[in-house]
Symmetry: C2
Subunit: 239 residues, 2 copies
């Protein structure tokens, strides 16, 4: 059986790079980059280009792309969109190309680029994602983007949810995945309440964007499968 390991922070990624080209990576930034990417594709976005800096997104704006930039949880001034999934409506993004930079998520995608496949994971597309991972049947790294290289609960709980869904066909190889699965089981009866206590969520409250949490915890509502490949993200789900 293929194995599952969980990377709890980008600062630990270097420990998992061996034979990366044979492994699938799921990049996880539940609040909010990877959730937002799923919503954008569900609402008809054509392509999402993750870029390192707000200036890079601004440059793409000149070429007709939507420029989206978030830093420290807030939309950067002068940009079309930030990182809130609620901004990525069909009216706003259908048929559009989007250049996106976020504090944690876009960097984690770039770091994973040598993998066999790099998938964008969120609670919203967890079923489509797990179906794909089962079918591919390769070793798997669940890569939590964290918050400025620190561990966070929401990404870890999601990693645990994926590991639980795949447990019959994959072998758990490390303590990080075991811990993530137990945290998911603890959180699962009421994810929203559980994650309310997380420090990242508490930071959200101070930014008056707590309603994003509800959006980010809708489970398996979107049949999208965003893949990061050749430097950009496209939806591989053809329902």
């Amino acid at each position: 059986m293929p194995g599952i390991e969980t990377i709890l922070s980008p600062a630990l990624f270097h420990l998992y790079e061996e034979e990366l080209e044979q492994k699938n990576v799921v990049v996880i930034d539940i609040l909010r980059a990877t959730t937002t990417i799923c919503v954008a594709f569900a609402n008809g976005a054509r392509e999402i280009l993750p870029v390192a800096k707000p200036e890079d997104a601004a440059a793409m704006q000149q070429l007709g792309w939507i420029a989206a930039a978030e830093r420290h949880g807030e939309t950067v001034e002068g940009f079309d969109l930030g990182n809130s999934p609620q901004d990525y409506t069909e009216a706003r993004v259908s048929g559009q190309k989007i250049a996106l930079t976020t504090t944690n998520g876009t960097r984690a995608l770039q770091m994973s680029s040598a993998a066999k496949h790099v998938w964008v994971g969120s609670f919203l597309n967890i079923k489509a994602l797990c179906d794909q991972l089962r079918e591919d049947n390769s070793d798997l790294l669940l890569f939590c983007a964290g918050w400025k290289d620190k561990f966070n609960l929401e990404d870890t709980v999601f990693a645990g949810a994926v590991a639980e869904m795949l447990a019959d066909k994959f072998t758990v190889l490390d303590d990080a995945t075991l811990a993530a699965m137990d945290l998911y089981k603890k959180a699962q009866p009421d994810l929203n309440t559980y994650l309310q206590k997380a420090s990242h969520v508490n930071r959200f409250k101070s930014l008056h964007i707590e309603t994003d949490l509800d959006v980010c915890l809708k489970i398996a509502t979107l049949n999208v499968l965003p893949e990061f490949k050749n430097g950009t993200i496209q939806n591989r789900q053809h329902a």
Copy 2:
């Protein structure tokens, strides 16, 4: 109230170095360095010098110290002792000075040296440790030594146990501590069974040293308080 944060791996330590000189650090390497250090002091060891390499321990042997060296879970050939707490009997260590090098624990001690105090934590001395931390009333970093920079369950569960014991007098500042507390609560009814599933413990089984786990999970049995200061470890508990 002072704050608690948990460092899940030495590879994340750099994120917590700000104002380190005002914080207490508890170094945690349950299987087995910090447990073994507690047992050695309880059995009368005078001093334990953590050294980087087996050669350094061998050099101290020439000066009359006991030389202890572990790599990859096993005693290095030609050394007096390894890293198993069961080897540190009163007959062997009473009145002795010991030079010790281990895969994870000694390095974590060295990394912490700029802190206000660096305490050696294990389930065996958890009460003495928490009494001291309450009395000192400073910000606290629970530093899990991990396994070759990877997260491990036993160190994290112990961090959660300490955070639980201090919860009335300290503020939890990060998701890592919240997760550790939940994992401790999950594990607490039967620590041994819970940690049996951990990968580190599974590695132990392959080395036929699983009986160490029982020794390492005896809670609050030893009234010792080893402190790492000026490059060496001494017992600060004067019962």
